[in-house]
Amino acid sequence: MSSEPDTPDAETEYQHDEDGGPDPEKHCGHGRGGMGEEVTRKEDKRFITGRGNYVDDIKKPGMLHCEIVRSPHAHARIENIDGSRAEAMDDVVAVLTADDLLEHDLATMPTLMDDTQDVLVNEKVKFQSQEVAAVIATDRYTAKDGAQKVEVEYDVLDPVVDAAEALEEDAPLVRDELDDQEDNHIFDWDTGDKEATEAVFDEADVTVEEDMLYQRLHPAPIETCGAVADWDPGMDKMTVHMTSQAPHAHRTLFSQVSGIPEHKVRIVSPDVGGGFGNKVPIYPGYVVAAAASYVLEQPVKWIEERSENIQTTGFARDYDMTGELAATEDGMIEGVKVDVLANHGAYNAAAQPSKFPAGFFNIFTGSYDIEAAYGSLTAAFTNTAPGGVAYRCSFRVTEAVYLIERMVKVLADELEMDPAEIRRKNFIPSDAFPYESATGWNYDSGDYEKALDKALEMADYEHYREEQQRRIAEDADKLIGIGISSFTEVVGAGPGKQCDIAGIEMFDSADLRVNPTGNAVLRVGVQTQGQGHETTFAQIVAEELGMDVDNISVEHGDTDTEPYGLGTYGSRSTPVAGAAAAVAARKVRDKAKSIAANELEAAEEDIEWDRESGEFHVAGAPDRSITITEIAAGAYMNHPGDEEPGLEAVNYYDPPEMTYPFGSYIVIVEVDRETGEVEFEKFVAVDDCGNRINPMIIEGQIHGGLAQGIGTAMLEKVTYDDNGNVTGGDFMNYLLPTANEIPNFETGHTVTPSPHHPIGAKGVGESPTVGSPPAIVNAVVDAMSHAGVSHVEMPMTPDVVWETLDDVGLSHQPAHNVEFDLGDDAEPADD
């Protein structure tokens, strides 16, 4: 088969009802579990019945356990490591230090940003809990006992944990081992047209400015990182089961680090209990486990503890930002400026496509048609854990969305305009797509006003505005705040011309085989950590091949069997691998067409595909039809002479552009003037992710992401004291929201398909984490903006909110509005 598959044409392939929902009457939902159907997740059975298979479930004969010795200091030179007391213990097999790794050339590893990180500290500890030595023992308890016996002598140095302080002249030098590094400055980056933007600001009627910190967060997946490494000296092959969001990329890196040829490295990412960007980088623990297995010729398991995960693995955000807007008197935004100080920790180990040191932060013009934009950023080393991973977002899009959505609220308050109105005024109009932003992004499609209108209606916006005024007028104890965020993301990295990680272009892949008995296996290069790929991708194939979704299984996560791909993060799976799956299915369908002609004894030109019934039939003779399930046998048993046997296709999909999901979230809060507590009164989320594959999975993704957005806005922050001790390094202090903190969500959607994506889909898993924090902060600010409050920093714990209330004279004492009724025979209370 040489002909190209059908050209993607999302608009005509799928149609929608008036609300933009899937329309079973039309093309979506034929009852086979294709596009638009709420198919129950295939993975749920094993997860719900406790049959998932996570890294820590893997047990191998003779398996040893690895425990890592970590530095209590944030900044210290290692003078000596003495492992003899641990080695003397029964059941301790080995103690590894940097010296041992040096022998095998495994002492360092590359980060995703081309920095070099110590696997075990060679000379100097650069952040608290950094990996110093490893103890390998026959069970995990002894390994831990042994780790306590390793004696390390440190020469303790002054640490610097704050990025601004790190850039001061006399700051301690974090990276003195780098020849060209004389300070803690990593890089400067800028975007947009500085001069043009300055000119717009000079001329503008109004300008506003606000400082805001997007605090350091941790993705905190419920499963921590871990690996079981198994060096097979008979096969000269290294197999590593590990918590990886990107098994193929990790294999390439593993091969580069270890020198073991890539085809002799197998990475398996089994069930993964949440990744959120945290499992994109390579961590020393993986390498240590592999090195230990290589040296000892036995399988070695390393499972990270919770506090190790929070304290040492890839954090997210930590962008200290100043935003500015220039606008006309009547609220037309003309220019945006932003300046960022980024804390990258002790290594430059952010996970970004390599040409984007600040990720896609330059999407900060958001959903608005802004003529002039300029952004600048400085990144600094500090004595804190390395990171800057894309926590449930496309690279740094969360920070950008927060900035612009907060600034629009600041501007609305300055101009005393309704924040919904000012957004409407400035949206990129729906007929302006494809739209090129001032910072060079090519937006594929959007209808921002429609999503906002829908959200306003669902939120009963006008009612709450009136209620807000009533509370203010009556000096009530609880204030109402209404926050809006009309965000746009850029996801689906990405086109090879723009995006690569460590040089590898960010395509993705699918390999689809229909078996002789008519069921199919789809193998994809991405990997799922809870997103439901096994269901969603099967639905794409079901739709394209007219097969029942139950007859399609999806495999992923094993580099020995899956086609090469870059992994799952940045909402790229559906935009890239989903596209690959659709294209591979169309290739299969094209090949099936010739077999159908053969089976139906008609000319190939006369064979038509009926999406509705999921069958080929002969033009003009609908009852002469055949399904792909029926064709499959023919492909193996009776294949046309001019075709290869079998029914299989592979697609490596290089997306032509990114996709741009969007939405409008409206959050209504009550703020307690006595305590500063914030309660959610209403939480409305309207999302547009283009064509919707499984609405139930989308809903689940939105709920989960909103919960994380609430955690971000209200609770979470990784904190350090001046000595570099992590003070928010466990779940007692790093506060994840529980079900009790989560309000009832009201979700809605609009559908604006991506014109360039084969099935018109855009990716949705990250919209809620990206879009909700500014809506929540805007709501809390809105409750107090009548008294002049323009910003509240996250996390907005009660103390932070109360201090703000108190500063502007809004705090109340309980006696304020209270009267006592003492009953008839008692004296009046207020004498």
Binding site: P72, H73, N725, T727
Partner: protein, 197 residues
Amino acid sequence: MEFDGEFELDGVPPEKAWVVLSDPVAVRDSLKGCQYITPMDDSFEWDSFEPEEDVPTLPEAEADDVASRAFRTGQKYAALMQVGVGSVKPKFETTVTIDDRDEEDFEMTATGSGSASGSSFSMESGMRIHPQEDGDGSRIEWWTEADISGRIAQLGGRVINPVANKIVNNFFTSIESQMTDVEETDSGVTDRIRGMF
């Protein structure tokens, strides 16, 4: 973190207090949770070291013994300390070096560091014994600057400060009773010991 304080020892003259506070065994006995304080060299092994039990202190101890084991400037000591509150009682393997001893002004300074349970601390401490202004006893001034890292530091000052204060208070209360015993010791003995320092 900085801690300091003062402590009065009624009836014990500075000379005698100095002798007691110079005796590692007496200090060990007064420091709750301290299993031993012993001079260490490079071959010292924490795992196998067995402290001698029931070593007499003044007034029972021999003057020569007390003098010969007294803290010496520049000497490094190994101390095994279990400190804490409630069920949190980490065992710290601590190394202390006496930096300076001023036999005239009864001032001693030391630096130390220790680690336990994923935590470590380092400290610079000192003490000076003054004659009581209104009495014949002593006034002991002490100060410590400690840096705490790791797990324990993550518990925060809320826990560490009261615990540190408790340890010091217990120490001085207990040393006071030892001093009272020494009080009964002939001052000739303590003078002799001081002479041997």
